[in-house]
């Protein structure tokens, strides 16, 4: 209470507490002395109040001289004395600073909430349960993608739900809220006004007034992104679990202290330990080799620190961003070792501190075995190729890329460092004489889609001529286009030479075989001759001896004796013929060659046979114009002419004089002489097979002895020629000798 001069008349205890004047004596002091912060504006208001005005203020900041702000309210009005005059001011003020700050705090929180709602796409809704009115905030309009003038109702809001069961569930939830005041928390899929599918999380609770639910309110959050991320996370997690549960791949993880915390089924299978035995162990020394671990640490240190690394006690390689795949040897529980391919990945925190490792382990012992096997086989192949002088090749005909085996390089004497091989690489080695052939073969292969094996010559890098044998296969795609050829290439130079030698040897052998066969035949002939021609007279001699012994008649004995003469004469002739034939066969008639004048031989023969020519009236013509001399054994030529012309006269037709034509000619490079007569002729069908046999006679001619043709044939064949005959009974015979 103040007087008109603004001097305190009285103060309440509360006032003293609010303004902290507990130790001071306020009464009697001027208001403006106590609060020097009071400005002129407030002083003016006080003056107005002293004139009857009332100044009421709910809140106003009071800037104190120490710099603090005190929020105060006041009610300032005049008081009147008994005379009705204004005696001074009645000032009622209070400190509302605390209250004011709480209010400001709330405003800040609301503002933050709004911002958050904006960012998190959270909308608010409120249903007045008594009127069923629905209120949305601004974000709700955004989420629902509806126009600003949209007036939401509960039914209309539910229409945005994608599925009817969600809609029914929401209705039940609202009913439950009304009936039991229960809260709601559901995730639903909605279709916005623009038809976008979103996931919304709706939570809400009920506000009751005196036990009666009045308001159902809450938030609706667009959780599509969260949901999507969640789905992805779920999938990733499931996949990860599947991988982790795989029995074919071992996965082992350790925590930040290097203690094994996961040991999957695959690891159990691979290592023979159960997860229980392993999980909790520090460091995987139980199944790793120390030297490999040390090498790993070294490698990693080297990788991240490089060569300049200087021992640093603080350095821990585990904190590096390790992602290493290499071969590790693992030790099973039973002590056996095997090879693995292991990927080790560090799990590092964002601060770069190791949080553990994941190791993915694949057993490659089988692959390694196969690889070793393959390497062994390859070595064997190389060895075999070297031994057999074979190389192999592969030609991608589309890209014209060629691969050669090691030994193929050796065959071509090409440096193995030359790896850019093409078809032309090979073709340039082809011997110039064979280039056309090779080009032709490859053209044919391409046309027929079939690789033809063939042999050709090459000139190697060092200029050596070799013969190679190519064998291959052409591979076509479904369209029938060739895209690859592969095959072998063998150096057959030596075998080719061997082959030539063999061919030569074979040819020689064939000649020998021919000679042998000929000699065999001669031998057989001789057996035959012996059989027939020597045994017959001997048999006769035996028989004659037998009957000679039986005979007691002298006359008969004389008769028998004369028969002995005949037989012995016959035997002598046969023996002489055989000796003659043997001489022909044994002597090398080829050594006594001379140029034989056929006209001369012919004349000599006519001379020798002049007697029988005269008696038979034979006409004999010799025509040697085409071929007058033959290099031959003269004695044989004499004998041939004598026998054939002699026979022609001997076996003349009964009713006509012999006409004999001897003619020489050259045909197909061979010298030929024919002896043609008009005599009896021979039934070759019947007697052809024994025409030239010894002692074979075909006519009941007293002089037929079966010797002439046998000797003639022996002589002709001894000189490497042949003799054949054509004949017709009663027309004549033609003998043809091919020399």
């Amino acid at each position: 209470m103040l007087d008109t001069n603004m001097v305190y008349l009285a103060v309440s205890k509360r006032w003293i507490k609010d303004f902290v004047f507990e130790d001071e004596d306020i009464v009697g002091r001027s208001h403006y002395d106590i609060f020097p912060e009071i400005g002129d504006d407030w002083k003016e208001k006080n003056q107005l109040c002293l004139k009857g005005a009332i100044d009421i203020c709910d809140e106003a900041p009071f800037y104190r001289k120490d710099g603090s702000i005190q929020w105060i309210y006041w009610d300032v009005r005049p008081w009147y004395n008994a005379e009705g005059e204004i005696g001074g001011l009645l000032m009622h003020t209070g400190d509302i600073t605390e209250q004011k700050e709480r209010e400001l705090e709330k405003k800040r929180a609301e503002s933050i909430l709004n911002d958050t709602s904006e960012i998190a796409r959270i909308s608010t809704w409120e249903i007045n349960l008594s009127t069923q009115e629905l209120l949305w905030n601004k974000m709700a309009y955004e989420i629902y993608e509806v126009a600003d003038d949209f007036r939401p109702t509960v039914d209309a809001a539910l229409e945005f739900f994608k599925y009817d069961e969600d809609r029914q569930a929401a209705k039940v939830a609202i009913q439950n809220a009304i009936d039991y005041g229960s809260a709601v928390d559901m995730d639903v899929e909605m279709l916005t006004a623009k038809g976008n599918s979103i996931w919304a999380k709706i939570t809400g609770k009920v506000e009751s007034l005196s036990g009666v639910p009045t308001r159902f309110y809450g938030i609706l959050q667009d959780v599509s992104n969260i949901r999507l991320t969640e789905q992805r996370l779920n999938r990733a997690y499931t996949e990860l679990e599947a991988i982790f549960n795989s029995k074919s791949t071992a996965i082992i993880t350790t925590d930040k202290d290097g203690i094994i915390n996961r040991f999957n089924k695959g690891a159990e299978k691979l290592l023979g330990y159960t997860a229980d035995e392993i999980v909790g162990l520090e460091k995987p020394d139980i199944y790793l080799l120390k030297e490999e671990r040390d090498k790993f640490e070294n490698d990693i240190t080297l990788l991240f620190r490089g060569d300049s690394f200087i021992a640093d006690a603080q350095y821990n390689y585990r904190n590096e961003n390790i992602n290493d795949t290499r071969q590790w040897t693992f030790r099973r529980k039973d002590g056996s070792m095997f090879s693995t391919l292991t990927s080790i990945t560090a799990i590092n925190s964002s601060e770069g501190i190791n949080d553990g490792f994941i190791s993915v382990v694949t057993d490659i012992s089988k692959i390694k075995d196969v690889k070793n096997e393959l390497r062994k086989k390859n070595d064997l192949l190389n060895f075999a190729e070297r031994l057999s002088l074979i190389g192999h090749w592969q030609w991608n005909t589309v890209l014209d890329r060629v691969q050669w085996s090691e030994n193929l390089y050796t065959i071509f004497e090409l440096e193995e460092s030359v790896t850019e091989l093409q078809f032309d690489t090979y073709f340039n080695f082809v011997h110039p004489e064979d280039k056309d052939l090779v080009a032709e073969y490859f053209k044919k292969s391409a046309n027929d889609k079939k690789f033809y094996s063939f042999i050709h010559k090459i000139i190697t890098v060092n200029g050596v001529v070799k013969t190679i044998h190519l064998v291959g296969k052409a591979i076509a795609n479904k369209k029938g286009e060739i895209f690859e050829m592969f095959g072998t290439c063998q150096d057959v130079t030596e075998s080719k030479e061997e082959e030539l030698k063999l061919i030569r040897a074979k040819e020689e052998l064939e000649i020998v075989a021919q000679k042998l066969a000929y000699q065999n035949k001669q031998l057989a002939d001789f057996t035959h001759i012996t059989s027939h021609n020597l045994r017959a007279p001997v048999a006769n001699l035996n028989s004659l001896m037998e009957i000679y012994k039986l005979s007691d008649d002298d006359e008969e004995r004389l008769d028998i004796f004369s028969k002995f003469d005949t037989v012995i004469d016959r035997l002598t002739l046969t023996l002489n013929t055989l000796i003659e034939a043997l001489k022909t066969k044994i002597s090398d008639a080829q050594e006594e060659l001379e140029s034989v004048d056929l006209n001369e031989i012919f004349e000599d023969t006519i001379q020798t046979l002049s007697g029988s020519i005269l008696t038979s009236g034979a006409v004999i013509k010799g025509d040697f114009r085409e071929l007058s001399t033959i290099t031959y054994n003269r004695i044989y030529m004499d004998s041939i002419f004598l026998n054939l012309i002699g026979n022609a006269i001997k076996y003349k037709a009964k009713d006509r004089a012999p006409e004999i034509i001897v003619k020489s000619k050259v045909k197909n490079g061979r010298n030929i002489i024919t002896f043609k007569d008009n005599g009896l002729g021979i039934d070759l069908e019947r007697h052809g097979h024994k025409l030239f046999g010894l002692n074979k006679v075909f006519h009941r001619h007293p002089d037929a002895k079966g010797v002439g043709l046998f000797l003639t044939k022996t002589q002709v064949e001894a000189m490497g020629g042949t003799i054949t005959a054509t004949s017709e009974v009663n027309v004549g015979t033609t003998f043809t000798i091919i020399f």
Binding site: R535, N540, S543, K696, V697
Partner: protein, 138 residues
């Protein structure tokens, strides 16, 4: 006439024919001997007498090697007329050949009773003739 064996010799070798006749005669067995110098003359004789086969021989000693028609060619012709011959004729192939080809070939011809290598010998000849005479009695 039944007890006389008609014996035929077909051979171009006159000495052989002579010895055969002499040897056969020496057995003093009842025989009628006929000779031909080659197969053609023998087959011609048979063809000429087809209507009276009683003159046909009972046994033939046939040589292989002969001019004009040899032993095998004779057999070919004989087989052709055989169905028209009522009489049973025993044929021996006789040759000085030891050639297995000849022997085999002769054995393949069913009409040939046996292959005999020259010389036949008195005893062998006698046995053959006696056997044949014996057969005829039955």
């Amino acid at each position: 006439m039944n007890n006389v064996l008609k014996t035929c010799i077909v051979d171009d070798d006159s000495i052989y024919r002579f010895t055969m006749v002499k040897t056969l005669e020496s057995t003093k067995l009842p025989m009628e001997i006929m000779v031909f110098p080659d197969g053609e003359e023998a087959i011609d004789f048979m063809l000429d007498n087809l209507d009276q086969d009683s003159v046909f021989p009972d046994v033939i000693f046939l040589d292989i090697d002969m001019p004009v028609m040899d032993g095998f060619q004779f057999m070919e012709e004989y087989v052709k007329i055989k169905p028209r011959v009522g009489k049973k004729i025993t044929i021996y192939m006789v040759s000085s050949s030891l050639d297995p080809v000849d022997i085999e070939r002769a054995k393949k011809i069913s009409a040939i009773s046996d292959y005999i290598v020259k010389p036949i010998g008195l005893n062998r000849l006698k046995t053959i003739i006696e056997d044949l005479l014996e057969e005829r009695k039955d």
